[in-house]
Symmetry: C2
Subunit: 126 residues, 2 copies
DNA sequence: ATCGTTGCAAACTCTTTGCAGGATT
DNA sequence: AATCCTGCAAAGAGTTTGCAACGAT
């Protein structure tokens, strides 16, 4: 008998937060957004549910340099991320072409790369 | 009278650690290397001195996605960083050409970008 | 003898975990 | 009713800070 999973208001609120946001969310941001659906939802619950959603493959982690980890809906095609230097929000960048010619030291082997753009988002550009 | 600065064994040990390493160091790595010069040097001292060296402009912070901040000697020309997925050490990449054509959403303005390469360092490639 | 610096320990922040009560099936 | 899930509070990990003692000038 596989362990059963129950539907709760908190779980729904957290999933809704990510679906409504349209951008990667930190645990704090997810907490604030989820609290609009379920008042009094706790941080621990947000952390636990994000862990579960990561294991389920519903979310993936977005590691930002010098910042807390964000999470976004999985299943999107390859893309990079933009962080606003003013409000610190992170956005997805689609169709951002990057050409790399890494010159590695002798003996080094590259297996992947990450790329981040910084600047001002639309709200902060005003 | 400007605030005087004193020369201490701890301070020298921490600077030596960065000069000998030839790669960006985390506070932990700096602590371990500094302890080879001054036994019993404390974490607090490492943190405090790194802060001072940052203010002095002798060090600059290297923020790695999903990892602790590293610090490297300042004054080098523009370069990116390589992180070994095996030993987690960070190395500088010189002469790594990156061509970017970011397609930003309407109203967004880019001011900079960061680039990271992952793979196996020489020691871990064996 | 000053007073900058250090080491220790406490404080803080972010995240994880134990546990008892509450909610879903 | 069974047991998954939540909230609270305590516990960890990494970093910062207060304070008395140390030590460079």
């Amino acid at each position: 008998m596989p362990t059963q999973i129950r539907k709760t208001r908190q779980k729904d609120a957290i999933r809704a937060a990510f679906e409504e946001a349209n951008r990667p969310l930190s645990t704090d941001e997810a907490l604030v957004l989820a609290q609009k659906h379920v008042e009094g939802i706790s941080v621990a619950t947000v952390y636990r549910n994000i862990s579960t959603l990561l294991e389920d493959g519903w979310l993936i982690a977005v590691e930002m340099p010098g910042g807390v980890t964000r999470y976004e809906l999985s299943g999107k095609e390859h893309h990079h991320h933009f962080q606003c230097t003013q409000c610190a929000k992170v956005y997805e960048l689609t169709g951002c072409a990057v050409q790399v010619k890494p010159k590695l030291p002798r003996g080094f082997r590259a297996t992947g790369h990450e790329f981040y753009v910084y600047g001002l988002c639309a709200d902060c550009s005003i």
